[in-house]
Amino acid sequence: MPRRGRTLTIVALLALLAAVPPLAALAGQPFYLDLFRRVMIFAIAALSLNFILGYGGMVSFGHAAYLGIGAYAVGILAYHGVHDGFAQFALAIGASALVALVIGAISIRTSGLYFIMITLAFTQMLFYLGISLEEYGGDDGMRLAGRSVFAGLLDLRDPMPFYYFVFAILVACLYLVHRLVNSRFGMVLRASKSNEGRTRSIGFSPYPYRLAAFVIAGAMCGVAGALFVNQTAYLTPAFMSWTRSGEIMFMVILGGMSTLIGPVLGAAGLLLLEDLLQGWTEHWQIILGPILVLVVLFAKRGLAGLLPGGGRDE
């Protein structure tokens, strides 16, 4: 029963993530709370990329754009004294969806290498836009004026509730992607990736479906950005740097493309590996680079392929 195996794997992993705060408290290592919250935030970003990359075949090399827009939405509102989380997150979702709509509408008309380069170039444009926003710190960025407050419910200044807030959003996003990829909409998206010519000749125009998926993914990554700026308490254009896009993409591949849980595993794998290497040497990237090459060359199925029932959806 591969399907049951997969469900069990996901539940077990989520249970592990839920157990991190008490374990970290027990071990007196609050650092792990921070690390795994970061892992989950990037898992949401990677999950959204996997939705269009793994299921939609759209190799977007500019996913950091939406991380940045989500972060700037929260940061700019906070700067102007709006700390209400509902308003901040609504703006983060709306703005990143809108930008994804514009970028997607142009990029999805192209394919292959053009698509990769164009998504990269648009993100670079937003990166420079961030740098030129002198009011909001320009090149150096700025401190977040205050973490989001969901009046009466939640205050992200408390580490523990913040952790479970991120956890809840991750679970919600996992469920959302699961429903999406198995719906009629998801079937068209996956069919268009599998065989575009066939899809067109049975009567689907892939473009609107792809664009809708692109917008959904952008909005989801915008949420990750809104969480990320609460995590770092600092806002910088570097959120949108192209290496960030590369990292998110690598998380998807490392974890296992076209699998539901893969992006979560990939985010955990990459960030824990980085943490480990940073402990060894300041020049950790000289080790990470070749590891990345080796993973691409020899471990295409990713971490999910190693787990029971973790393989690709049929």
């Binding site: 380069m117 192209w242 680079g289």
Partner: protein, 306 residues
């Protein structure tokens, strides 16, 4: 607007354009022939810059350092092709992007270990530091003029190579029909290595010329790489002609935009608004241009293949 200033900025645009072309030519050749996306092309640019600085310091002779740095970049390019990229030709673009992304991390860190993370101070020989008078009233830096001359000469040489020589014939044939070239008995693997090394040397040339103008530091290749992507997308992937046209357009638009957009906006907007919007818009200009070109011609201005 001051005509001399306009001419000077146009020359700067041309200078940026030819540097972008040197980068774009190698990248687009490698894509056209080997069907490979090489993000690490910017790393080769960086290698060229660092080698020339190091070799100039070592030998004390700029005229010796430049060819040595070019040879060095060529060698690095060939080694990278043999060790890592060769296995990627048959893979999809996603794999190529990620693996060459890994190479970038490696190269940036390697350079940081060897030369440190701080920007390197570069010097030029005295005979390149002067000014030459282009027209009366316009003294233009000799070094930038030299870059323009070298860039145009390389563009001409490249055209000759591709259009008129046996190697060029193989390159053109290889771009359109790999199996046919193999059937001619040409060692295709060797051809690939040579072409890659050649593209690397062009990137190295751009990098070593860029050194004294911009900063020499780890990661210097990536900013220009993305601009080169814009060039290639505008020109049409795989087309040298497109690379040249795209490079000159992007070089001009970027340079003139940064120089004149703010004053132009100042005539319409309030000074503070122009102050804020000018630089922001100028830095986004080439990307907006790209979007506009794509909206009309999704395969670029000079699509390589019908």
């Amino acid at each position: 607007m001051n005509l001399v200033l306009l001419l000077e900025q146009a020359l700067n645009g041309l200078q940026l354009g030819v540097m972008l072309f040197l980068m774009a030519a190698g990248l687009t050749l490698v894509f056209g022939i080997m069907n490979l996306v090489n993000l690490a092309h910017g790393s080769l640019y960086m290698v060229g810059a660092y080698l020339s600085v190091a070799l100039f310091g070592l030998t004390g002779s700029y005229l010796l350092a430049v060819p040595l740095a070019l040879l060095g970049t060529l060698a690095v390019g060939m080694i990278v092709e043999l060790v890592a990229l060769r296995t990627l030709y048959e893979r999809d673009h996603l794999d190529q992007v990620l693996a060459t992304f890994g190479l970038i991390l490696f190269f940036n860190e390697l350079v940081a270990i060897l030369w440190g993370r701080a920007a390197l101070y570069t010097t030029l020989p005295a005979w390149l530091t002067g000014q030459i008078e282009i027209v009366s009233g316009l003294n233009y830096p000799a070094y930038r003029a030299a870059i323009i001359a070298v860039g145009l000469a390389v563009a001409l040489g490249l055209w000759y190579l591709v259009a008129r020589t046996r190697l060029g014939m193989l390159i053109r044939a290889g771009a359109s029909n790999r199996t046919m070239v193999a059937a001619l008995g040409v060692n295709i693997r060797l051809l690939y290595t040579v072409v890659f090394g050649f593209g690397a040397a062009l990137a190295g040339l751009a990098g070593l010329m860029a050194g004294p103008l911009y900063t020499v530091q780890p990661g210097m290749g990536e900013d220009i790489l993305i601009e080169v992507f814009v060039v290639i997308v505008i020109g049409g992937i795989g087309s040298i002609r497109g690379a040249l046209a795209g490079a000159l357009i992007v070089g001009m638009v970027d340079t003139l935009g940064r120089a004149f957009l703010k004053p132009i906006l100042g005539t319409v907007l309030s000074p503070t608004a122009a102050e804020a919007a000018g630089p922001a818009l100028a830095s986004m200009l080439i990307y907006l241009l790209m979007a506009a070109v794509l909206a009309v011609r999704p395969a670029g201005l000079f699509p390589a293949r019908g």
